[in-house]
Symmetry: C2
Subunit: 395 residues, 2 copies
């Protein structure tokens, strides 16, 4: 069994404008850090980089939680880690489902033998706290879980009301912040979040491969009180925390270069500052929406429930979903996302995440989309750029 | 809660000579590929890179297995993936334990509710097939599992005899090839391996973060015949395989840039060729051993059972383990590994993996070690470089 190495050419992915549901555009500084020489996972210099990464992550999460680390896998590994460490067979888990990622939390819960109490909510809308209150009433769930930013629809669920319900019920509050972290506030200590995870390839603009995660003391106590070992050695946080903690006990080899990259991405966030970063995401979102609406297209999510970093646009009548996305990619190098589940073929998902959230990208997308739709014979209004400009000029 | 970004300086890990148990030295070409612009995980160009990566991995594993992929996690995630997909509660699993990584397989088996049949063997030695035969006798285990290259000791267990025992028993043959793949032959189809996993940071000389894995048709059938869903969404290969297969169904976001890197590392392996690569590992190993023995030091593992890429050297009397490793790192930039478990403080583990396995590194380590030991008052023989040279000159 042989192979001819000449069939495989130099990697040349070119460049894209990543306006899908993630990954987002990665700044050159992060790519440069990623390619620094690899050193050992117990090297004193690497240990100091781990410490710094943890300090930056605690700041980003606005938490004092000791266990605040990047898990060695993509965002979904963060979800897996949060659930597999906290859910034991028979545990009652309330899971809010208003999109694909809520469904995934429900799936993970059942795989672990948790007793799933599912709060189904309309897709494209925020989760209604009253529905959660009803589900919790008369129960003592171990966990109440919600997706902060539902990437499949662009709906944002405010965390405080559900945190209060979880607290009153004595439950751990578990939050999926994969798409929200770094784009809108995720204030772990203030809100009272016990377990939270995210991804690197959304509003942090780092390549995919790590899942920032934080566990409160209450979550750590629940972990310590387990009757059984987690059915997952790789993500067992009782061991992983010994490597990230003072002991530095070897568990698994950390993804060294990815840690370089997230540290650099976090430095960039720190340089910009959280308030400025959130404001930037917001203005770009508003400008995009103004342009989209000027074209006569409409948004899926009601204005008050929209995420700034993930914009679901209803596909207008007469437009060919695949052809439009194909032309955006082929002619302009722009990637946008398709609809998932019940929204397949019905919406486009436009990401304005991290480094991608810039005026030039908003203008580029609006002008490209307008041109492509017109070429397909779809009637679109003019004035998209003017409408978007107006939003930017107010800043 | 605020942070001063000026406290965090540019990443500057410097450079090391990575002669520990992994990571090994990463060639500049791999680092360059790693830092190519990030594109989407469903981008047509990225999908073509995935296809190429799979073709290269099949060649490296010498297999036709359709499910041959890099799992999105470090080597231990490969172990987790292999076990969590194949072991259901109550399944009998024979696990050979002759070091840390055999112990880990036993731990994972028990976490999954498997009925563990543990074959304990002396650390620092290969697994004796007769012990496996005895353990299997009169049973119908679902899996027989062995570590090919025990990284904690440097012992190599030949696979054929144990494969035959597994086959006769109708069991799946599961192999940990984390440290062997790319350094010695791992012939999946010829040997009859049903599930195998590896890591990128050993003999492939790619940064840590991915776990090459291959499942035979028989393993895929066992996966398909599960009565329960795997208690792990992230590593559920029945879903992961739909993303890597023709369907391209989104599961989790692939670690894009790490895929660039492994593809480049595999290209380099293909350019060198397997025979030449294995021969290079062997001659460097032999030269190192000749030098070590010329100094009057001795190897832990009997000559016939040694791995070429992981060399366990007994710490000579009078030498201070930590001080020696500290001086190697501080004065020469050389990382070597310490002993684990019962060998803590008793051995040094010297890796000659992938890009690291070069004459200049063998010479550097021998000369540095000789100088440091002498400075610590340890009596060491001279002539290490001469002895090593002799081995190289024979090639």
């Amino acid at each position: 069994m042989d192979i001819d190495y000449r069939e495989f050419r130099d990697a040349d992915p070119g460049s894209r404008v990543l306006m899908g549901p993630g990954p987002s555009d990665v700044p050159p500084r992060v790519l440069q850090a990623l390619s620094a020489p690899c050193i050992g996972h117990l090297d004193p210099y690497f240990l100091s980089m781990m410490d710094e990464t943890q300090r930056l992550l605690r700041w980003l999460f606005q938490t004092k939680n000791a266990l605040t680390i990047p898990v060695s896998g993509t965002g979904s590994a963060g979800m897996e880690a949060a659930f597999v460490n906290l859910v034991e067979p028979g545990d009652e888990v309330v899971v809010c489902v208003n999109g694909v990622f809520g469904m995934r939390m429900a799936d993970v819960t059942e795989r672990l033998g948790g007793k799933l109490i599912r709060v189904d909510q309309p897709w494209g809308r925020a989760v209604d706290p009253e529905a959660v209150r009803k589900a919790v009433k008369g129960r003592k769930p171990k966990i109440v879980a919600v997706v902060h930013a539902e990437t499949s629809t662009g709906a944002c669920t405010p965390l405080e009301p559900i945190a209060a319900i979880a607290r009153e019920a004595g439950a751990l509050f578990l939050v999926d912040a994969v798409t929200s972290l770094g784009g809108i506030a995720v204030e772990v200590d203030k809100v009272g979040i016990d377990a939270v995870y995210s991804g690197t390839q959304k509003c942090l603009s780092c390549p995919p491969g790590l899942a920032p995660l934080s566990f409160s003391d209450k979550a750590m106590q629940a972990l310590g009180a387990r009757k059984t070992k987690a059915p997952n050695w790789y993500l067992d946080l009782s061991m992983v925390s010994n490597y990230w903690g003072a002991e530095r006990k070897y568990h698994h080899t950390a993804p060294i270069n990815m840690i370089y990259a997230i540290r650099e991405a976090l430095r960039i966030v720190a340089e910009e500052g959280l308030e400025a970063r959130f404001a930037r995401h917001l203005v770009n979102h508003k400008a995009l929406v103004a342009g989209i609406e000027a074209m006569g297209l409409s948004m899926l999510v009601p204005a008050a429930e929209r995420l700034p970093m993930l914009n679901s646009i209803r596909i207008p009548e007469g437009a060919d979903d695949k052809k439009v996305r194909g032309a955006l990619l082929k002619d302009f190098g722009i990637e946008i996302g398709s609809g998932l589940g019940e929204f397949a073929g019905k919406i486009w998902r436009v990401g304005l995440m991290g480094h991608t959230a810039r005026q030039k990208n908003v203008f580029l997308l609006l002008s490209a989309l307008q041109s492509i739709l017109k070429a397909q014979g779809v009637k679109v209004g003019s004035g998209a750029i003017e409408a978007a400009s107006k939003v930017f000029s107010k800043v």
